[in-house]
Symmetry: C2
Subunit: 194 residues, 2 copies
DNA sequence: CTATTATATATCAATTCGATATAGTCAAAT
DNA sequence: ATTTGACTATATCGAATTGATATATAATAG
C-alpha cells in the first residue's frame, strides 16, 4: 500500500491536515501497524489533489503558517473503497534494530544487553498505552479515526487495537519471564570462557 | 540500521552468498524482525568489498552462474562490533496492510473481513514455524546463524526467537477468541442499518 | 509438456525515508 | 533573563530502499 492510499484511509475519518495525518501514523490510530513520513505525505496529498481525490481549504492563521485542511471527495472515497476490495495486502513486515542487535548478545557487554531489553520493554509499554482507543490521557485535540459519527468505537478499530495490545502484553510477559534467564546464561558463558 | 550493517551481521555467522543472506532475512534467522531485498544487498556487498570489510571468493559452477562467497575480514568484524556498541537502535516499526484494511471492516463485505483475518492467522502460523531455531523441517542446506561453532544455540538468538514465537502465539490466541465476536457485531450493524 | 520453484547475480525506475529549512508559539530549565 | 527544546505547520531534496525485471539453468510438480 502506497502512501497515497494510506492518506485516503486516514481521511476516511474526516478532514485533517498533513501534519495531523502524520500524527495518526506516529501516535494515533494507525501508529502500531503503519508508518508514513511527512516527506511522503505532502507529495501524496498534492498528487491526490491533482487527481481530484481530495480537496483542501486553506485556513489563514494569525502568526502561524497557513493550514491546509484536506478532505476526501466522493471520488476519493469511492477510490479508497474500491482499493480495499481489490488490493491483495502485502506481507506484514516487522523491523526491529533492537532484536537484531540482541541476536548478537554474546558479543556485547552484559549491561548493554540488559539496557536493550529494558528499552524494548519500555517502548512496548508506551505503545500499549498509545494503542488503547479508550485511553483518555491522550490530548483531546488529537484526531481519532477510531470513532464513527455517533462517537461509537468502530468494531474494526477495536479489533485491531485489541490485537496490538495482546501483542504488546505478550512481549512484556515474555521479557518478565525470560530476561533474567538470558542474562544469567550470558554471565555463565563469559565465566566459562575466561 | 542500513543494509550494509545488516549484511555484516549476517556474515558474523560465517561465509555466505548474497542470495543466502537474503534468505536469512526472508526465511531464516532474521526473518521476523528485519528485512532486506536483493536490490539492496548486492550493492551493499559491493560497497563493503570496496571498503575492505568483506572479501569474496568466486566459485565457478557447472551449468550455473558463478557464486561469490562472501566472508568478513577482521576489519569488518571489528567494524560490526563497534557499530553494535555505538548505535542507538531506531524505533521498531511494524507494517501491516491487513491490519490497516481491517480498520475499515465496516466498509467491506463480511466475507472479506473474515478472509483477511484468516490470512493474517495463516501467515502467523507459518511464521511461528519459521522462527523456531530447533525446527528440523527446514531444508538442511539453509544457513543458520542461530548456532555457534559447537553447534549450540546462541542465547541471544534463542531469546529473540522465543519472543517472536510468543508474539505469534498471542496473535493467534487473540484471533481465536475475538474473530467471531467481530463478525457478529459487523453483521448486527449491517442488519441495523438496512 | 509446461509451469512453477529454486539457485544465483545484477540493474534500475519509482518510492519512501530522514534530514533540513522556514517560521512562529509556548513552557521550562539554566 | 534568556536560551533551549518541544509543538504546530508546510515544503523540499538527496540518499537509501523497494520491487520489478533480465539473464541463465536445473529440478520438480501438475
Amino acid at each position: 500500500m502506497d502512501v497515497r492510499t494510506l492518506c485516503l484511509g486516514a481521511l476516511m475519518g474526516g478532514e485533517a491536515t498533513g501534519y495531523e495525518i502524520r500524527k495518526m501514523f506516529e501516535d494515533g490510530t494507525f501508529s502500531h501497524f503503519q508508518i508514513a513520513s511527512l516527506g511522503s505525505i505532502y507529495p501524496a496529498l498534492t498528487k491526490l489533489t491533482q487527481d481530484g481525490l481530495v480537496t483542501f481549504v486553506e485556513h489563514e492563521q494569525e502568526n502561524r503558517p497557513d493550514k491546509k485542511i484536506y478532505q476526501l471527495t466522493s471520488e476519493g472515497r469511492r477510490t479508497f473503497l474500491r482499493t480495499l476490495l481489490q488490493t491483495r495486502p502485502a506481507e506484514d513486515r516487522y523491523r526491529s534494530d533492537i532484536l537484531f542487535m540482541l541476536t548478537f548478545a554474546e558479543e556485547m557487554p552484559i549491561e548493554l544487553t540488559e539496557a536493550l531489553i529494558d528499552e524494548f520493554a519500555a517502548r512496548h509499554e508506551l505503545m500499549s498505552q498509545q494503542i488503547d482507543p479508550e485511553n483518555t490521557d491522550k490530548p483531546a485535540h488529537q484526531k481519532s479515526n477510531a470513532r464513527d459519527e455517533n462517537g461509537e468505537l468502530r468494531p474494526g478499530c477495536c479489533f485491531v487495537a485489541g490485537l496490538g495490545q495482546a501483542m504488546c502484553n505478550a512481549t512484556l510477559k515474555f521479557i518478565r519471564e525470560n530476561k533474567q534467564g538470558l542474562l544469567d546464561e550470558l554471565k555463565a558463558r563469559k565465566a566459562n570462557k575466561s
